[in-house]
């Protein structure tokens, strides 16, 4: 069935992420792995997109607001044929089409992100453009929980409510660990309540349970007149045993031993 297929695909995506990070080269392991299942569901189930027709004005759009986790997106884009999988290993090296953070010059990347807190506003603009042109596409934006400290996110949350953009779906990769420590060092308050109070439809799921991801993404289609957010509870570094829940693997080099261990781990992901 579809969910089982997606689970298998997520293993491939995690494998691509590892390939992108490689050995002895710094890479954002933690956030890429925590969002890998959501990214898989978007590219291989939910979104209307085609690497052979990347400029189709009716395509669904995906914005990775937590741009440092773009490795998960590169993994999916390569798998979908936007560029050769050979490019993955070159990520962040001089002259590569795959930059450290997303840029629109890369095939399949819809907007530049990396300076945190800006992706939801980009998604809002694209959603408004779609409404103006009476196009039937959705915009999916993955936010990080750490980036919710950025004020601009809340400006965008308020604005999205004002413009009633039901073609905008935010997905919060709530992995609870930031670059330098656990998220609870800096209390962001009742995130769910804040979204609700701002007029958003809120879903909450296990962000590694493919059935729940698929169900929530489908449910957002039925919400009219307001934007939706899926709060996805995730595990930083999900699937890589030694990296799970560790801030030290937010952006880390893997040794050859670790790399091989990680390869084994993701094949047996629970």
């Amino acid at each position: 069935n579809k969910v089982e297929e997606l689970r298998k695909k997520a293993i491939v995506i995690r494998g691509n992420i590892l390939e992108t990070i490689g050995v002895d080269k710094k890479g954002h392991v933690g956030g890429s792995m925590s969002s890998a299942d959501i990214v898989t569901a978007l590219y291989f189930y939910k979104m209307n997109h085609d690497s052979k027709n990347p400029d189709n004005p009716d395509r669904d759009r995906f914005i990775f607001s937590k741009g440092h986790s773009v490795l998960a997106q590169y993994a999916a884009l390569a798998e979908c044929g936007y560029f050769s999988k050979k490019e993955l290993k070159k990520t962040k090296t001089f002259g590569s089409i795959l930059q450290g953070h997303p840029e629109i010059r890369t095939p399949g990347i819809e907007a530049n992100t990396g300076s945190l807190g800006q992706g939801l506003s980009l998604g809002l603009g694209i959603a408004l453009g779609g409404k103006l042109d009476k196009r039937d596409y959705n915009v999916y934006v993955i936010l990080g929980d750490g980036e919710l400290a950025e004020g601009q996110v809340w400006e965008a949350i308020t604005a999205a409510n004002n413009f009633k953009v039901d073609n905008l779906v935010a997905i919060l990769d709530s992995n609870k660990v930031q670059a330098t420590g656990p998220i609870d060092r800096y209390d962001l308050g009742d995130i769910k309540g804040k979204f609700k109070a701002s007029g958003w439809k809120v879903f909450e799921i296990d962000g590694h349970n493919m059935a729940e991801i698929v169900e929530a993404l489908d449910a957002t289609d039925t919400i009219k007149g307001k934007p939706s957010v899926i709060i996805a509870n995730t595990v930083k570094g999900k699937g890589v045993s030694f990296a799970e829940n560790k801030a030290s693997y937010h952006n880390a080099k893997l040794t050859e031993v670790q790399y091989n261990q990680a390869k084994k781990d993701i094949a047996n992901i629970g």
Binding site: P57, E103, I104, R105, E110, A111, N112, T113, G114, S115, Q118, S121, L122, G123, L124, G125, I126, A127, L128, G129, G130, L132, D133, G151, Q152, E155, A156, T158, A159, N162, F163
Partner: protein, 308 residues
Amino acid sequence: MKTECLREAYGRELLKLARRNKNIVALDADLSGSTMSCYLGEEYPERFFEMGIAEQNMVTTAAGLSLTGKIPFVNSFAVFATGRPYDQIRQGVALPNLNVKIVGSSSGLSDSGDGATHQSIEDISIMRSIPNMTVISPVDALETKKAVKAMVEYNGPVYLRISRTELPIITSEEEPFEIGKVSKIADGKDITIFATGLMVHKALEAREKLAKVDISARIINVSTIKPLDVEKIKEYASDVKGIITAEEHSVIGGLGGAISEALSDELIRIKMVGVQDKFGQSACDYEKLLEHYGLTADQIVKKAKEYM
């Protein structure tokens, strides 16, 4: 001489162009009655986005709109349009080279009464230092209209700096406007004054005063500060005793800075008229403020005489 308000001209022209080009949209952060983006909003409410007092989201939302083929004009006071969302402009607009137009109204000291918080003396410097960004500072209402039209025709990020005040019309309908080109307003042989915006008018006043003491001044209107018309600037700077730059902006990083950079390998003397690394302040009388900060014809005259 006929005077006309630049922001009024901007708002009217934007609406006129929007009637012909459905991709033009406007965003404002609760200042549309001052920036005059309200004209577009009144006629095309669906293409006008009131973004609340939230400039950062406004700029990035505009970036998103541009990704769908729209030509967004982002409006606020110059100080808020460039300072508050600096990172949003840098990362989300200029880096991907998106077709977003930032319009900074009430530029320089022209919002005299509101004081330092609402006056912009660094906006040219900030915007000019960002790769891919074009910076335009028109001299009168006619040139403002031409600039807005040129901005729509040009595909890429542009910062337009417009004064709050009425200024005399010193250009003509027939005169062509091209982004990146300076224009000679008056010729002279002793010195060349490179000025922008309001200070072109002050330079004209200075030229008359200088003529009385037999100093002949050439006046060049530098309405595009980036990309700078380096070739013409070198030409107009090379056959005189020295040059003066004049701007309603800090002497750090603005027109004077841009011209100094362009002429840094030339044996040309440069004197700058501008705000001397100081914040503004309130004054109900705009002219009084200009006088205090040395943005006057007399200041230009004084600098010119130093060359003789």
